[in-house]
């Protein structure tokens, strides 16, 4: 355990799914560190501290991005590509969290530098178990680049 709070960016267009993630992460008592955006362009603006997020200039960037693939404006894969090509953003862990389990998407995501690929389970118990495991691994044990 590194004891630090970890900023998370959740990129998810479906408000209900975002709520599911927030509720599960609330049990970790770190929900305060979770920022939610609903489309690809907003995600890029947030990470690059531009547009309506320019006031965040200088504040710490998220360490972890939970990224849905089918999102409005800029697709998830494109967001991933742009994160991984920018030196300041490259070290952010990007976890794809989507309903697609297509081989093409999985392969492409890893090619673009995704750190993990998870599909949303339909069942409540599975989704909770997965989010908890994700929380333990990425929020408790994983070390991030400084």
């Amino acid at each position: 355990m590194n004891g630090k709070t970890i900023n998370i960016l959740l990129v998810e267009d479906d408000l209900a799914h975002a709520e599911i993630v927030k509720r599960n992460f609330a049990d970790f008592r770190i929900a305060n560190d979770l920022q939610h955006v609903a489309d690809g362009q907003a995600a890029l603006d947030y990470l690059n501290r531009q547009g309506c997020y320019s006031h965040l200039e200088g504040t710490p960037l998220p360490r972890l991005v939970l990224l849905d693939l089918r999102i409005p404006k800029v697709s998830g894969l494109e967001v991933l590509r742009r994160i991984k090509e920018v030196p300041q953003l490259r070290n952010i862990a990007v976890i794809v969290l989507t309903t697609s389990n297509q081989d093409a998407d999985i392969t492409r995501a890893y090619e673009l530098g995704a750190n993990s690929y998870l599909t949303k389970p339909i069942g409540f118990a599975d989704f909770c178990a997965m989010l908890k495991a994700l929380g333990y691994y990425w929020l408790t044990w994983n070390h991030y680049a400084a």
């Binding site: 799914h17 089918r70 404006k73 989507t98 309903t99």
Partner: protein
């Protein structure tokens, strides 16, 4: 002989001696002669009488008849043999030329079959240039023809026509009823040949100023089954056009057309497959999303009920209800989308303006709620196609417009048509939130939405695009960006009939 000017008496014989010499010998010879003249069986007597007798002047045969007959026979055989050889040589020459042309034609088709081309236009373009060479013409054209709309669409002009032709803006679409001589192949449904083009012709309407001058001209209709699908024309061969040229062009184009049809079917299949894949991908994601929500909030609901957390129970049921609504919407839109591709190709004729007017009636509640002004202007062109399918275009564009008005205080949606460069373009314009240039392409994709909580399933514009492309049209959007309103433009070449609705053709 006796009719000639010179009289010859070959059998009067006289003897002579030098004067005073041998009178005895002379007398003896005369005596013998005299005796021969009287003696009936002497050679002299018979010969003399034969020649002098007027009753039978030609009893003596100079050349026998059989010689004449034989000669005539030989002569006849010789003449016949020469004629036969000439004819045979001509036949061999024609047959050789025919075989060569057939081989050339086959070669062209084989070449084309091996060519990996995806465009019909390219195939026909190639065929045209080959036909020009094959018939030794100077130039030619191929127009595609649609029997339903009675319209010609230019596919290609051979390369030589351009330098001779100073028409810069050549029309690409012609109506059958406005064509002159070259439309005759469709009206008569058979090939035509005009070998003295400059002469007066009752069907000729004259070609436009600057058109390449024509000397000879031929044209054929190209049939697919009983329908005319294209017309091809060739012009300015040095020698007159004849049946062979018609045969050449017909056989070549029929061969090519089979390839064209095959290519089109392959392309269509490829397109459908790709579309199906995209559709399945998008549908599986978008249908799964509400399902995940429903199952998970049912889980939360159980926990909330056990904990007696009343507020969370209401919150959870709200998420479940919205997800179920969204699922219903998705399924409804998916059904419309899937069905529209498989509508029968019935042909209704309608006024374009009726379709948005009908959609406005269907959407009147939405329009009234937002107090939207709607204007349908100058939309009176005739459309031919499936009415239900065409109606989806305006219905979805209007629904899209009314859903994206933002907080515009005086919302206005305009619908109309303009003709630019002979092409009829339709538009649906609003003064709503507008669309950033970055998303002008993306919005037409399946299940694409620009706002996470926008109403609709994101199928409307994809459906419009599908219908527009079904009628060989294109769709695009013009918008200066956020808050600047949007204008959706589209064309429907295969549905537009170039006349005002109700007007006689």
């Amino acid at each position: 002989m006796r009719h000639t000017g010179i009289s010859i008496n070959p059998f009067d014989i006289f003897f002579a001696t030098p004067k005073g010499h041998d009178p005895v010998l002379l007398a003896t010879l005369d005596r013998y002669l005299d005796a021969w003249r009287k003696q009936e069986n002497s050679f002299y007597y018979t010969s003399y009488h034969q020649w002098r007798s007027p009753s039978e002047p030609t009893t003596l045969k100079r050349i026998p008849d059989w010689v004449w007959k034989a000669l005539t026979g030989v002569l006849a055989v010789t003449v016949f043999a020469i004629l036969w050889i000439v004819v045979l040589r001509r036949q061999v020459r024609t047959a050789t030329a025919d075989l060569l042309r057939r081989e050339q034609r086959l070669q062209i088709i084989v070449d084309l079959a091996q060519k990996e081309t995806e465009s019909t236009a390219e195939l026909l373009d190639y065929a045209l240039n080959q036909a020009v060479d094959l018939t030794e013409s100077r130039f030619g054209y191929i127009y595609l023809y649609t029997e339903e709309t009675r319209l010609f669409t230019l596919n290609s002009w051979s390369k030589e026509v351009m330098p001779a032709c100073s028409i810069t803006e050549k029309s690409t679409i012609y109506e059958l009823d406005k064509t002159g001589l070259w439309g005759e192949v469709v009206r008569q449904r058979q090939p035509i040949i005009v070998n003295d083009f400059p002469a007066e012709h009752p069907l000729k309407k004259g070609y436009p100023e600057g058109h390449a001058p024509l000397t000879r001209f031929m044209s054929i209709p190209l049939f697919s089954g009983k329908r005319i699908v294209a017309v091809a024309g060739l012009a300015n061969k040095a020698a007159p056009y004849d049946r062979t040229d018609i045969l050449q062009l017909t056989l070549l184009l029929e061969g090519i057309w089979r390839l064209v049809e095959r290519t089109e079917i392959t392309n269509e299949l490829r397109r459908k497959n790709a579309e199906m894949e995209r559709f399945l991908y998008a549908a599986s994601h978008d249908l799964k999303t509400p399902l995940v929500t429903i199952k998970n909030f049912l889980g939360f609901l159980t926990i909330d009920l056990q904990a007696g957390d009343h507020n969370r129970v209401i919150e959870s049921t709200g998420y479940i209800a919205r997800a179920a609504d969204r699922m219903t919407l998705l399924l409804d839109e998916l059904l419309v989308y899937a069905r529209i591709g498989h509508l029968e190709e019935q042909v209704d004729e309608m006024c374009a303006g009726d379709l948005p007017r009908q959609a406005l009636v269907e959407l009147q509640d939405d329009f009234r709620r937002r107090n939207v002004g709607a204007v349908v202007t100058n939309l009176d062109i005739t459309l031919q196609g499936n009415r239900r399918r065409l109606a989806e275009i305006w219905k979805n564009l209007l629904k899209n417009a009314v859903n994206h008005l933002g907080n515009q205080p005086a919302p206005l949606i305009e619908v109309g048509q303009v003709t630019i460069e002979g092409e009829t373009r339709f538009y649906v314009r609003d003064n709503g939130i507008g669309i950033d240039a970055r998303y002008h392409q993306k919005i037409f994709g399946l299940f694409e939405r620009l706002e996470a909580n926008a109403p609709g399933a994101g199928l409307g514009l994809a459906l419009v695009k599908q219908v527009v492309e079904h009628y060989a049209g294109r769709i695009w959007v013009e918008s200066a960006g956020d808050g600047q309103g949007s204008c959706f433009w589209f064309t429907l070449p295969k549905a537009v009939v170039n006349k005002t609705y109700g007007e006689k053709r």
